[in-house]
Amino acid sequence: MNKIFKALSDPTRRKVLGLLRQQPMTAGELTEHFTVSKPTMSAHFAVLREADLVEAEKVGRVVTYRLKLSVLEDAMLGFAQVFGMEMKPATKKRRPAKRKAK
């Protein structure tokens, strides 16, 4: 579940999922919709694949991505898109630094 939250926390990845809702797209077609570099997009695709939210099919040199969302994941994506959630993993509170004894 943590992987899914991580995948949905990023607006770029949410937009990728939104585009894939319309139809399956190749990696190149998806990258055209963004201004970020190809390696960055590859990293985003990897996160989505790891969370099992997309399926990648390689034919020759072309990788086609398809949406692979369960209804629950679809609902979570919908909430994230509507409310623009930035779901961050829980971080430990910093303890105040101890003052050195004089």
Binding site: Q23, P24, L67
Partner: protein
């Protein structure tokens, strides 16, 4: 779920269902056909899995199919065991008939939710243009949502509504689920239009 854990779960549920069926057979021998079916159904499914497994050639696809079949056995085992537990509890006067009926209805609702939730995850083969795959996927997503919402309504009806009116109320679950989905979709499209260009198509 890992294949080993899934197999262990399916085997455990098969044994549990057979045991419950046997216990009910002893309690009510006049319904022996029903109990015999529940005792033999899952072992029969296992036999079919083993026969298919031996007949097919070794491949990744075969392993995936086997995994799916075992998952089906585990799901069926879960449903059957819960139903048989309810029947056994009713026969042992631990719960009355109404509670047993309601619990089976709620379980069916939960089953619909589970089936609908995983439905869009099952992808059709990708054709050269992708258009047909997109249509299939959109349909799968709609049917998945329909099953989940209908399952929620169905389970709620069996929990809340008077037993004499459940038949009529359960008939309305799918039409009401359709209306709910259309309404939610309209609200969603309205909320996200002009947001990030990722408007849904389904």
């Amino acid at each position: 779920m890992q294949p080993k854990t899934l197999t262990a779960t399916a085997v455990t549920l098969t044994v549990l269902v057979a045991g419950l069926g046997a216990a009910l057979w002893v309690q009510r021998p006049e319904l022996s056909t029903r109990w015999a079916a529940s005792v033999l159904f899952l072992p029969g499914a296992w036999l079919a899995v083993l026969l298919v497994d031996k007949a097919c050639a070794q491949s990744a696809r075969r392993l995936k199919t086997k995994h799916e079949l075992i998952r089906g056995i585990a799901s069926a085992g879960g449903i059957l065991s819960l139903s048989l537990i309810a029947a056994l509890a009713q026969e042992s006067y631990l719960i009355d008939g109404d509670v047993a009926k309601r619990s089976v209805g709620v379980m069916l609702g939960l089953l619909l939710i589970f089936m609908g939730n995983v439905m869009p995850k099952k992808l059709a083969p990708l054709d050269s243009e992708g258009a047909r795959a997109a249509k299939t996927q959109a349909t799968q997503r709609f049917v998945g949502w329909l099953f989940v919402v209908a399952g929620l309504l169905y389970a709620t009806v069996w929990m809340v509504v008077d037993l004499e009116q459940t038949a009529m109320a359960t008939l309305l679950t799918f039409p009401v689920a359709c209306l709910v989905i259309v309404f939610v979709r309209l609200v969603y499209v309205r909320a996200t239009s002009g947001n990030n260009g990722s408007e849904p198509s389904a």
